[in-house]
């Protein structure tokens, strides 16, 4: 950012509220250049000579010239000293500021390759480290956005915090999660990925001057706004899951957008796919022809550079019209879990977890958990999943809503098919309660958890893999904090933990994105056991025990590696499968993987190709599937090309029947219905407040909850009614009043369509740490 050349002309003096919008120009978004093969790129800053400087996570910082020639500005970790380079900005003295998120610092470097010159290490008010996600400069003041708490810290040149600016949560919203920060003309702009907002604040007193956004794709809406940058006049927001960059003014009004959401894998030339961050560089703007915005797309391992339209050209309307496709295609993320014949995978764009039944080939998508929202059973974002088929439970860790959500499946013993009524949200445990205990055990670390994986233990407990620290956090079977391990010395020190899995010897194996290492820890207390090098795989992700070995996903080289973890310090190579590409059997940034003993297959989240692929325990490709067309290895050994699996009717053989776990509601007389909570811990009685309810008529409900011994349940009630097969709830927010302990009255509900509605009675303990659901079903004619 050209903070030294003040680009305030006509916009208002420093510190003053924003004046009216500058006149429109000819538009933005001309595609100028593409820089490929930048694995794990998180951000890039463009220069007037057509080059870029790119931050590559643990891979350091590189300068890429216009002709593609590369030179290291900061060597990869550990030699370069930056653990996780996630953002870049130009400091006022011309040096490059690199945000080291896992390192808790902003490093200032000279571009001549002399390495890190100095570091800003701001601390929070209670002396904890920050998790910086972005930095912006106003003269010598650096504004550092904290990804662990909704605070922007204003620091001086030495990194001392001179002021803290807190982003308030919106009414009825979630605690904000900051994505990035930008500063121009007296206004601080931050993105809030939890509430899908862009907010402008006064840096002097933190007063909000404008705040806009909601989750969606229309003008003024966002889907996880990640980065924000400015040319001094306009602000450019990286709208991650809308696959676009949106230009807004200082009031948050949309000016235009560009991106042309890429539809085919690796499609480029101005088409954008999951942009993470855009950074402005080049001329000081607003109309400098050298003004540039570089958009980093880690999903495509590339950076694309865009510029303003030619001012003499007529402005063209910018939108991203797409051919609508029949049905929803899969967009699986990196998270996958399976147990027995039940597989679950997260889809960030729909904020839902898809559940597959593996008893069919290809596996059948049988139901969907969640969907975007703030209520129990909905997701802000899922960062880890676990499955226990025998217990009929699935867990999803949601750091945005701040819960670990526990689900069950209501299966009816029939052949697998899609059933939107299958999910049962059982209970939710607050992550904040776990974080408080972990924070007390680890003073100095950020107060919030950054969970990246969850492993279910045979005894019924869990281990949470936490990037904060990093730490291992043990949970009991009730999802309560049990123990915490952190700060292992020497070879035991994990840096950027990616995934964890139990091996055959009950050790917890942990992969690390900061180097080719797998480490083993005790699953009962987190003690470090030993480590192995995995030469040739500098960026590991998924891990899973397979018969006679361990499977790892090599996210750098698009491969699945089967290794032996024995006595030698180096892991022994057993097999390697997969190559870079998008055809069946090829991989692009493979992520989480899991071995299914029941199926004798290794399931790999082929994240960059939006699908799941199956390999043998020696990495031979077997099949691929998603939502859509599936491919299998042909049976004829002489055939080479993958084929579609033969059509086969799903069979009811071996189908689970869990209906007995969820007894239906019973008639309790006088209009009351009684139903046990999904966990069985209490019983809810409910009835309509004013007689039978008709579609579109407002209604009230009387609700009571009792434990098994008849005592009233001390809790607050949230009532909701949804149509799972339509994917929507009510258009109103009913009001809930406490009537007496364990009794409530709901007013102003309204079911606006005929059909089948699910009623949710969600009870939350007084300390807010636990919520449990009871539910019933009504049919409205």
């Amino acid at each position: 950012m050209a903070a030294s050349a003040c680009a305030c002309a006509g916009v208002g003096a420093h510190g003053a509220p924003q004046s009216p919008v500058p006149p429109r120009d000819a538009g933005w978004g001309v595609h100028l250049a593409t820089f490929d093969a930048l694995d794990d790129v998180r951000a890039a800053i463009p220069a007037p000579d057509g080059s870029i400087v790119a931050a590559l996570g643990a891979g350091g910082v590189v300068h890429v010239a216009k002709d593609g020639a590369r030179r290291a500005v900061v060597a990869p970790w550990p030699s370069g000293g930056i653990l996780e380079a996630v953002a870049l900005a130009r400091a006022p003295d011309g040096r490059l500021a690199v945000v080291d998120r896992a390192g808790g610092a902003v490093a200032l470097i000279a571009e001549d390759g002399a390495g890190v010159a100095s570091r800003l290490v701001p601390r929070t008010g209670d002396g904890r480290a920050m998790r910086p996600v972005g930095v912006a400069f106003d003269g010598t003041t650096a504004y550092v956005a904290d990804g662990a708490s909704p605070v922007v810290a204003a620091c001086d040149g030495a990194g001392t915090v001179i002021r803290r600016i807190t982003l308030p949560a919106p009414a009825d919203g979630l605690p904000p999660v900051l994505g990035d920060v930008a500063f121009a003309s007296g206004a601080l702009a931050v993105t809030d990925a939890a509430n899908h907002r862009v907010t402008f604040l006064s840096p002097a007193n933190g007063a909000v001057t404008a705040s806009r956004g909601d989750r969606g794709a229309f003008p003024g809406m966002w889907q996880t706004p990640a980065g924000i940058t400015t040319d001094g006049t306009w602000f450019f927001v990286t709208d991650r899951y809308n696959h676009r960059v949106v230009r807004i003014d200082a009031r948050g009004e949309t000016v235009d957008q560009w991106g042309q959401h890429a539809v085919k894998p690796r499609e480029g030339d101005g088409r954008i796919h999951y942009p993470l961050r855009a950074v402005h560089g080049g001329g000081p703007a607003p109309a400098s022809p050298a003004s540039r915005v570089a958009v980093a797309e880690p999903f495509e391992r590339r950076v694309q550079v865009f510029g303003p339209n030619d001012p003499s050209a007529a402005p063209a309307p910018r939108m991203t019209p797409l051919p609508s496709m029949d049905g929803v295609a899969s967009h699986f993320s990196t998270e996958l879990a399976l147990d027995g014949r039940t597989l679950a995978v997260y889809e960030p764009e729909s904020a839902s977890v898809l559940v597959f039944d593996l008893r069919n080939e290809p596996p059948i998508h049988v139901t969907t958990l969640g969907g975007p929202g703030r209520a129990m059973g909905q997701f802000g974002q899922v960062s880890a999943i676990a499955v226990d088929e025998a217990a009929n439970r699935l867990w999803a860790v949601d750091p945005v809503r701040g819960v670990i959500a526990e689900f069950a499946l209501l299966r009816d013993g029939r052949a697998p098919r899609f059933d939107p009524f299958m999910p049962r949200a059982v209970r939710e445990a607050s992550l904040a309660a776990i974080a408080r205990k972990a924070a007390a055990a680890t003073p100095g670390l950020p107060a919030s958890i950054h969970p990246v994986d969850l492993e279910r233990l045979p005894g019924g407990g869990f281990v949470l893999l936490d990037r904060t620290g990093p730490r291992l956090i043990g949970l009991d079977r009730d999802l309560r904090f049990a123990w915490c391990a952190h700060g292992w010395p020497g070879a035991g020190a994990m840096r950027l933990p990616a995934q964890c899995a139990l091996d055959g010897a009950a050790r917890l194996l942990v992969t690390d994105a900061a180097g080719p290492v797998v480490r083993a820890y005790s699953a009962t207390d987190g003690a470090f056991l030993r480590a192995w090098n995995v030469p040739g795989s500098p960026r590991l992700f998924g891990v899973s025990a397979v018969p006679g070995g361990v499977a790892l996903s090599d996210a750098r080289h698009d491969a699945v590696r089967i290794v032996a973890l024995g006595e030698p310090a180096d892991a022994g190579d057993l097999a390697t499968g997969g190559t870079t590409g998008s055809k069946p059997g090829e991989l692009w940034q493979p992520a989480s993987l899991a071995w299914s003993a029941a199926d004798a297959r290794l399931f790999v989240a082929d994240h960059g190709n939006h699908r799941l692929q199956c390999f043998t325990d020696r990495a031979r490709w077997e099949s691929s599937f998603g939502i859509g067309r599936a491919w299998v290895r042909p049976r004829d050994p002489g055939a080479t090309a993958p084929v579609n699996p033969p059509a086969r009717l799903p069979s009811a053989d071996g189908a689970a029947d869990t209906r007995a776990q969820f007894p239906e509601a019973t008639d309790a007389g006088d209009g009351w219905r009684a139903v046990r909570s999904n966990s069985g811990a209490f019983t809810v009685r409910w009835r309509w407040a004013g007689g039978a309810v008709k579609v579109r008529d407002p209604f009230g409900v009387e609700v009571e909850a009792r434990t098994a011994d008849g005592s009233p349940v001390a809790a607050s009630l949230r009532f909701d009614a949804v149509m799972p097969h339509h994917g929507h709830g009510m258009n109103v927010n009913p009001a809930v009043e406490d009537a007496s302990p364990g009794a409530w009255r709901v007013r102003n509900g309204l079911m606006h369509m005929p059909g089948r509605w699910e009623l949710h009675f969600d009870l939350t303990t007084p300390d807010g740490d636990r919520t449990e659901r009871a539910q019933d079903t009504v049919e409205l004619p």
Partner: protein, 429 residues
Amino acid sequence: MSARARTRRPRPIALVAAGTVACAAACAAIGRAPHAAQPGPRPGGWLDAETAARVARNPPLPPVPPDPTNRWADDASAAHLGHLLFFDVGLSATQSVNCATCHAPAYGFSDRRALAVGVGTGTRHSMTVLNAAHQRWFTWDGRADTLWSQATQPFESPAEMNTPRATVLAHVLEDPELLEAWTRTFGAPPAVATPAEVDESFARLGKAIAAYERKLVTGPSAYDRWWTRRAAGDPGADQELTDDERRGLALFFGKANCFQCHHGPNFSDGEFHMLGLPEPDGGPPRDAGRYAVVDRVRTDPMNAAGPHSDDPRGPVAQVSASLARTPERWGEFRTPSLRNAAETPPYMHAGQFASLEDVVRFYSTLEGAVALDHHRESVLVRLDLTARERRELVAFLGALTGTAPPLPWGDAPVRRRPAPSKGARNPGG
């Protein structure tokens, strides 16, 4: 508060459903099997059982339902006053615009324009006022929850009449005929001494206009006559419809699926939907529709829960006070009634389609529909109707045209002395 405020809920669809359910319950109570004679055409001939059942739920309009939020809703004096106000250009800043400028009797109480033109040009197409009393929400985005509350909005809207409420009420005070009608209705001249009194008088102005608008109901259409005769078992019922109209009816309630949203006696579910309609200039979608007004409805002092409502705790108020603004509301617009649609081109919220043929072609091909991302399934499914089927559907829509509202309501009132005007702009007279 009058006894009217305690009447049962004024929801025509619910009344019909209640009647149907009550009939079946009564039959069951006396030991008879619920007979196929739900009121309505029986299956047989060119109507299969499923389609016949749907048609049965779409009878002619019942009487206008009561409006407990407006104690003068059915008051004759109020209707007379509202009739005068509706056609009085003196209520606008330019002395040339009245309600009838955009809601002209000769044009089906619409205006034949894509975008309304009052004092300035608006952003939406003028909806018809015909049968408005049967609706649940008012205006394309439903920013008014009662008929009388909607009637107050155009006065102060810059593009519509651009007149502050105090000026509107001053005009009433200055015009002897209006003042007389007002006093006869409300018992005293409009009170304007304080802002609170001005607001209450302004609300009453809206209530009088609403009382008039409740008179604007259409008479039976060809469809209504057919429905009634068929329900009575009249073998000649089909003569009320042409062959094309009958086939269009079967499509409407059958494979074309129009009934999904256009059902009930008023051919509207009263709800809001996002169809992906293109913007008039072809640019990116800009009109947020329902999403932009939900918060306003909840807090509007003129809403059914507010201080000027005569039923502030009734069912309409309850809903308005608890509306939720969710992202799914973006771009949603109200399902309009299809009654008399053939009289009120162009169509859709910005008049995007010039003719019913264009409307039916859009639903059939979805050409030009806006899809902002491929992850969201559209509410609509491409129908791929043949040209003949599209023609038949349009013909059926014409069969929904009912007779004009009775005089004197259906036209401008006869004034004792013409109101001063700079030239009325009433299309068609």
